[in-house]
C-alpha cells in the first residue's frame, strides 16, 4: 500500500533544538541509504555498557559520512541506477531502494532462505550479499519470473500443488526451485529435499513443495 496522503510533517526534534555537532545533512546522506538490515543488531539496550559506549563514541566522533556510490544493477532485465551505501545488502537495496518487496527478509542472517534470488542464474541469499558488488551481474527476483500474465512453470506448479500456506517463504522457495532446476534439470526425486533444504517453511508445506518441483521438472 502506497498512500499519497499528505501530512503536515513536523521537523525532527534535533532540528527544533538546533543541535550542534554533526551536520544532519551529511549524516542523512549515509543514514538514508544505509541498509535497513544494519538494524538487525540487538535492540536490547543497556546490558552491555561496552556496546552502548562504543556506539556513543562512534556517534560523538560524528561518523565520517559513509561511502555511498551510484551503482547500476540489472534486475529482471532492467537497468536500475541508484545511490547505495556500500555496506547495504542487496536485499535492502531491492526492497527499500528499488521497491521490489517480493524478496522477503525472514532472518537477515542467511538461515531461512526467504531472500533467495538468482545472480547469473545461481541461487544467492540477498541478505548476505553486498549490493555494490553486483554490478554487471544479472539479478533475477520473484518479480522477474512470470512473462506478463503467464506464470513461470514453477510458479504454476506451486499454485496447482498448493505449495504454500502463508506464502511468506514462497518467493524464496520458488526462486530456489528455479535455480535448482537450472543446476539440475533432471534432478532425481531423492535429491530434491537436500537441494531445497536451505529454504525454511514454517507452515511445512514441504510435501507439496516437493510435488510442485517434480511437476515443474522438465517443463522449464
Amino acid at each position: 500500500m502506497r498512500s499519497r496522503r499528505k501530512f503536515e510533517g513536523r521537523q525532527p526534534v534535533s532540528e527544533q533544538r538546533e543541535q550542534i555537532g554533526a551536520s544532519r545533512r551529511t549524516f542523512l546522506v549515509g543514514g538514508l541509504s544505509a541498509g535497513a538490515g544494519l538494524a538487525g543488531a540487538t535492540m536490547l539496550g543497556g546490558s552491555g555498557t561496552a556496546v552502548a559506549s562504543q556506539s556513543t563514541e562512534l556517534a560523538a566522533a560524528a561518523a565520517p559520512p559513509p561511502d555511498t556510490r551510484k551503482i547500476t544493477l540489472t534486475v529482471n532485465g532492467q537497468a536500475r541506477t541508484t545511490d547505495v551505501d556500500t555496506r547495504a545488502s542487496l536485499l535492502d537495496v531491492l526492497r527499500e531502494r528499488i521497491g521490489l518487496t517480493g524478496t522477503k527478509k525472514g532472518c537477515n542472517q542467511g538461515a531461512c532462505g526467504a531472500c533467495t534470488i538468482l545472480v547469473d542464474g545461481d541461487r544467492t541469499l540477498a541478505c548476505l550479499t553486498l549490493a555494490a558488488r553486483y554490478e554487471q551481474r544479472e539479478i533475477t527476483t520473484i518479480e522477474g519470473l512470470a512473462e506478463g500474465n503467464r506464470l513461470h512453470p514453477v510458479q504454476q506448479a506451486f499454485i496447482e500443488r498448493d505449495g504454500f500456506q502463508c506464502g511468506f517463504c514462497t518467493s524464496g522457495q520458488i526462486v530456489s526451485a528455479v535455480g535448482l532446476l537450472n543446476e539440475r534439470p533432471d534432478v532425481p526425486d531423492a535429491e530434491i529435499p537436500e537441494l531445497m533444504s536451505g529454504n525454511l517453511c514454517r507452515c511445512a508445506a514441504y510435501p507439496n513443495i516437493t510435488a510442485a518441483i517434480r511437476d515443474a521438472r522438465g517443463e522449464g
Binding site: 500500500m1 502506497r2 498512500s3 499519497r4 496522503r5 501530512f7 513536523r10 525532527p12 526534534v13 534535533s14 543541535q19 549524516f27 542523512l28 543514514g31 538514508l32 544505509a34 535497513a36 544494519l38 538494524a39 538487525g40 540487538t42 535492540m43 536490547l44 539496550g45 543497556g46 546490558s47 552502548a52 556506539s55 556517534a59 518487496t101 522477503k104 525472514g106 532472518c107 542472517q109 538461515a111 531461512c112 520473484i142 518479480e143 506464470l151 499454485i159 498448493d162 504454500f164 500456506q165 502463508c166 506464502g167 511468506f168 514462497t170 520458488i174 531423492a190 529435499p193 533444504s197 525454511l200 514454517r202 511445512a204 508445506a205 514441504y206 510435501p207 507439496n208 513443495i209 516437493t210
Partner: protein
C-alpha cells in the same frame, strides 16, 4: 444447523472441491503485500528499546541524548502513553512501556521514531536506562508453591489453579492392580512464523489512527489499543495486512500500540518491523510444562484412576495463561474413559519470557504427559501400545474429565484400528548414506541404527471454551456486475495462510449457486470475527458466511415468489439462475438483481458452553472436540544420538472435508510443528535470558526433516457444526510429538521423559 445447505445443485469450486487460493497468484509472484512490505510516503521508522534484564527496577530513563540524535523525531517512554498504561489479552496487566519494573528480558521500555531504521537503532543505544537488577524468579515450581518467592504481581504468582475432581480418587487407588508414575517436561517452543511482526500506523485528519497490521484478531487488538491511545474505538481503524504465519503468536499485541503512539506524537506514518532476534522477544511462546502423572489400572488394561499435577510457566504476564490452564486441566487425561480423576493444573508467573497461545494451546503439553503414561502402562502390562489405548478409548456417549458427555461421533477405537492396519515403511537402504540418521553428516555405516515405532493420540477442543461467546460476523452482498451475479464477502477474519479466504468463496458458491466471489479486505469496519485460533475459523466465520448467504437467499426467494407467483419453498439457486421445482428456470440472477443488490449481515454463534467449576473443574466447557492419532517410525543411531523420522502416519476425523488440499496442508503443518517440539525446537532460557534467539540456534524442521506422511481422513459429521465440519489445524500438533518420542524410546530403550529430545539425551543415556 437449521437451514439445509444448498447442495442439491453443486456449484463448481464449492464446498468439498479444492479450488485454488484467491490470494495464490499474488503469493507466487511476490505481489502479495505482507505487513513488512508496507510503505508510506513520508513515513518514519519506529524501534523499541527492550530490557536486557529479566527482573529489575527502573531507577531512571534519560532520553536526552537519543532525542538530540540527528534524524530522530520522537523518543517516548511510559510517561507518553496517552491513555491506559496497561493492556492484556484476558487480563490487563502488561505495561505498554515499562513503568518502574521490568519483568522479563525484552520487555519494551522506550520507543524511537526516526527517518531510517539505522538512525533509530543508533538512537536506541543512546537512551540511558538505570536499572536496579533483581534476582529473577525462574523456577515455575517455586513460583507455584514457595511462599517465600517474591510476588511478581499484586495477586501473587499463581495466574490460575484449576483442579479437576471426577469420581472418587481414593476408590480408584484402592481398586488399581497396577500403577504407573512418571514425571515429564515440555520445553519452551516458539511459533517461529517466517514473517516478522510488522505494521504501519497512519495518523488521520480527525485525530485518529489507521493501523495496517499482521494479527490474528483485529477486534481484540482494537479493544486493547483504543484505551491505551485514549481514543474511542471508531477512531482506530484497523485493516489486516498480509500475515506471514501466526500459529498463536499474533494473538497478543506486539507493535500495534507503539506504532500508533509514535504516529500520533509525530503526526507522521510510522512503520515498525521486528528483526528475527527481536521477534523472539516480541511475542509469547508455548508454555513450558512440568508434569507429574499417576495412572492406575486393572491387569486387563482398564484404567481406574488418573492423577496429575501440571505446572505451566506463563512467564512475566498473563496473556492467555488462564485458558491454557483450562485446556490442560479439562483435557488432562486425554480421550480415555477414566472413572476417577484428580488433576491440579497451575499457571504461574515467573521472570521467564511470557507464554501464551501456540497451536494446540495447553492440550499439547498434557497430551505429551498422558500419552507417555499410556506407553508406560502398556509396557508394565506387556500389552501393545495401541491395545491399551483401544481398551480405554472414548466414544460417543463417553464422559470426559470435566464431566462433559461426548455427544458427537468420537470413533477413536476405529481410528486406532485403521492406524494398526496402515502398512509399515520398508527398512532404510543403508547403502545410501542419505537414508541414515543425520544424512550426509553420518560418519558410520549404520551399525548403530535402530528402528522404533511409537503412537500418539490427541484430543483438542475446537472454538473458545468456558462460556466464551466467540461469534463471527459476515456481510454478503450479491450484485450483478458486468452481467454476472457476483458476491462480495466482508468479514474481519484473519487469513493467516490456512485458506479461510478460499473457503469463504466455496461456501458462497455452494449456497448461492454462483461462480464469482470477491473477498473484501478484512478490517474493523464490520463486526467481530473472533480470533484465527482454536481451529475455529472454518466453523465460526465459515458459519457466519453461510448464514449470511442463507439470509440473502431467503430475500431472493421472497422477492421471486412475489414476482413469479411461485411458492418460495419451491425455489433454489443453481448455475447463476433462480430455479423452481416444477417450472424450471425462472430468471437469471443477474437480470433479477438488476441494479438492486441484495445484502445481509449476520452473526454466527456456536452453542453455549460453561465455565469449569473452580473447585471440581466440572462443566460442559467445550464447544467441539476433535481427535487425531499418529504413528511414528523413527531410525535412531544410538551411538551418535542422531535420528531420522522415517514416516508419520495420521488418522484424523474432520467431520466433513471442505477443501482437501488445505486440509492436508494443515495436517502436514500441524504434524511438522509437533515433530519440531519432539526433536528440535526449544527456546533455551537460562536465568531468565534467552540464549538462542535466531534461526541458526533455534532450529525448525527443514524439508529434510519432514518425513513422508500417510493421511487417513475420516468424515463423521458433527451435527452442531456448519456442514458437519470439525476444526482441523491443531489436533495433529498434539499427537505427533508423543508418537515420535515413543518411537525414540522404542528404538533406544531409554525413558526420555523430556521433549525436545536431542542427540545428547540419547548418547549420554545409552550404556
Amino acid at each position: 444447523m437449521s437451514a439445509p445447505a444448498n447442495i442439491d445443485a453443486p456449484t463448481r469450486d464449492g464446498v468439498g472441491d479444492s479450488p485454488q487460493r484467491p490470494d495464490g497468484i499474488g503469493k507466487v509472484t511476490g505481489e502479495f503485500a505482507y505487513a513488512s512490505d508496507l510503505w508510506h510516503d513520508d513515513m518514519l521508522w519506529g524501534a523499541t528499546l527492550r530490557s536486557p534484564h529479566p527482573y529489575a527496577r527502573i531507577r531512571s530513563i534519560d532520553i536526552s541524548a537519543a532525542l538530540a540524535h540527528p534524524g530522530v523525531y520522537a523518543v517516548l517512554t511510559h510517561e507518553d502513553v496517552p491513555g491506559a498504561k496497561y493492556y492484556g489479552l484476558d487480563h490487563v496487566d502488561q505495561p505498554v512501556l515499562a513503568i518502574d519494573t521490568v519483568r522479563y528480558q525484552g520487555e519494551p521500555v522506550a520507543l524511537v521514531a526516526a527517518e531510517h531504521p539505522e538512525i533509530a537503532r543508533r538512537a536506541l543505544a543512546k537512551i540511558e536506562v538505570s536499572y536496579d537488577v533483581l534476582e529473577p524468579l525462574t523456577d515455575p515450581r517455586k513460583a507455584a508453591f514457595d511462599a517465600t518467592a517474591p510476588a511478581l504481581h499484586e495477586h501473587g504468582n499463581i495466574v490460575r489453579h484449576q483442579p479437576v475432581r471426577f469420581g472418587k480418587i481414593s476408590e480408584g487407588q484402592r481398586a488399581a492392580e497396577v500403577v504407573v508414575r512418571g514425571e515429564y517436561q515440555v520445553g519452551m517452543q516458539d511459533q517461529a512464523f517466517l514473517g516478522p511482526e510488522a505494521g504501519l500506523a497512519v495518523p488521520t485528519e480527525d485525530g485518529g489512527i489507521e493501523l495496517y497490521v499482521a494479527t490474528q484478531w483485529m477486534h481484540v487488538d482494537l479493544r486493547q489499543i483504543a484505551p491505551c491511545l485514549a481514543l474511542p474505538e471508531d477512531k482506530v481503524r484497523m485493516t489486516l495486512s498480509g500475515v506471514g504465519g501466526a500459529f498463536g503468536a499474533r494473538e497478543d499485541l506486539s507493535m500495534q500500540v507503539h506504532a500508533a503512539m509514535l504516529a500520533l506524537h509525530t503526526g507522521k506514518p510510522i512503520k515498525i518491523v521486528y528483526n528475527r532476534e527481536e521477534s523472539f522477544f516480541g511475542h509469547v511462546h508455548r508454555h513450558p510444562a512440568l508434569m507429574r502423572y499417576e495412572h492406575g489400572a486393572w491387569r486387563d488394561g482398564t484404567l481406574v484412576y488418573a492423577k496429575a499435577e501440571i505446572i505451566l510457566d506463563g512467564g512475566a504476564y498473563t496473556s492467555s495463561t488462564m485458558n491454557v490452564v483450562a485446556n490442560a486441566a479439562s483435557l488432562g487425561v486425554g480421550p480415555y474413559s477414566v472413572p476417577h480423576i484428580e488433576i491440579d493444573t497451575y499457571g504461574v508467573y515467573t521472570n521467564n519470557p511470557p507464554c501464551g497461545a501456540m497451536r494446540g494451546f495447553g492440550a499439547v503439553q498434557a497430551c505429551y504427559g498422558y500419552e507417555s503414561q499410556m506407553d508406560r502402562l502398556a509396557a508394565e502390562l506387556d500389552m501393545h501400545p495401541l491395545e491399551v489405548r483401544r481398551i480405554n478409548a472414548i466414544s460417543q456417549g463417553s464422559v470426559l474429565a470435566n464431566g462433559q458427555v461426548v455427544d458427537t461421533p468420537a470413533p477413536l477405537a476405529e481410528m486406532l484400528d485403521r492406524l494398526a492396519a496402515t502398512p509399515q515403511p520398508e527398512p532404510a537402504d543403508q547403502t545410501d548414506i542419505r537414508n541414515l540418521p543425520g544424512g550426509a553428516a553420518n560418519t558410520t555405516h549404520g551399525e548403530g541404527v535402530r528402528r522404533g515405532i511409537g503412537y500418539g493420540v490427541g484430543l483438542k477442543n475446537i472454538c473458545f471454551s468456558e462460556g466464551a461467546d466467540d461469534y463471527s460476523t459476515a456481510r454478503v452482498r450479491l450484485a450483478a456486475v458486468g452481467g454476472e451475479p457476483t458476491a462480495l464477502v466482508h468479514t474481519a477474519a484473519a487469513e493467516v495462510g490456512q485458506g479461510l479466504v478460499t473457503l469463504q468463496g466455496q461456501i458462497v458458491r455452494t449456497e448461492l449457486g454462483i461462480e464469482r466471489v470477491v473477498i473484501a479486505p478484512a478490517d474493523t469496519q464490520i463486526g467481530d470475527a473472533g480470533s484465527t485460533s482454536a481451529s475455529r475459523q472454518s466453523y465460526m466465520t465459515g458459519g457466519a458466511v453461510k448464514v449470511a448467504c442463507e439470509a440473502v437467499r431467503e430475500m431472493i426467494f421472497e422477492r421471486a415468489a412475489d414476482q413469479f407467483g411461485v411458492p418460495a419453498d419451491e425455489l433454489s439457486l443453481a448455475g447463476g439462475k433462480i430455479v423452481a421445482q416444477c417450472a424450471g428456470v425462472l430468471a437469471a440472477l443477474a437480470d433479477f438483481l438488476g441494479t438492486e443488490p441484495i445484502e445481509a449481515v449476520r452473526e454466527f454463534h456456536h452453542r453455549p458452553t460453561q465455565r469449569m467449576d473452580p473447585v471440581t473443574g466440572q462443566g460442559d466447557s467445550h464447544t467441539q472436540l476433535a481427535l487425531c492419532v499418529h504413528r511414528a517410525v523413527v531410525d535412531v543411531d544410538v551411538e551418535l544420538g542422531l535420528l531420522k523420522v522415517v514416516e508419520l502416519a495420521a488418522v484424523q476425523d474432520v467431520g466433513k472435508v471442505l477443501h482437501r488440499n488445505s486440509l492436508e496442508g494443515q495436517i502436514h503443518g500441524g504434524t511438522a510443528q509437533g515433530l519440531g517440539l519432539a526433536v528440535l525446537e526449544e527456546i533455551q532460557v537460562v536465568d531468565g535470558l534467552i540464549r538462542n534467539p535466531s534461526f541458526t540456534d533455534y532450529l525448525i524442521p527443514t524439508i529434510l526433516d519432514m518425513p513422508p506422511m500417510r493421511l487417513d481422513i475420516l468424515e463423521n459429521p458433527d451435527p452442531h457444526a456448519p456442514y458437519g465440519l470439525r476444526g482441523a489445524g491443531e489436533p495433529p500438533t498434539l499427537s505427533s510429538t508423543p508418537a515420535i518420542a515413543a518411537a525414540i524410546r522404542d528404538a533406544t530403550g531409554l525413558p526420555l521423559t523430556r521433549v525436545p529430545i536431542g542427540p545428547e539425551d540419547i548418547i549420554h543415556s545409552v550404556k
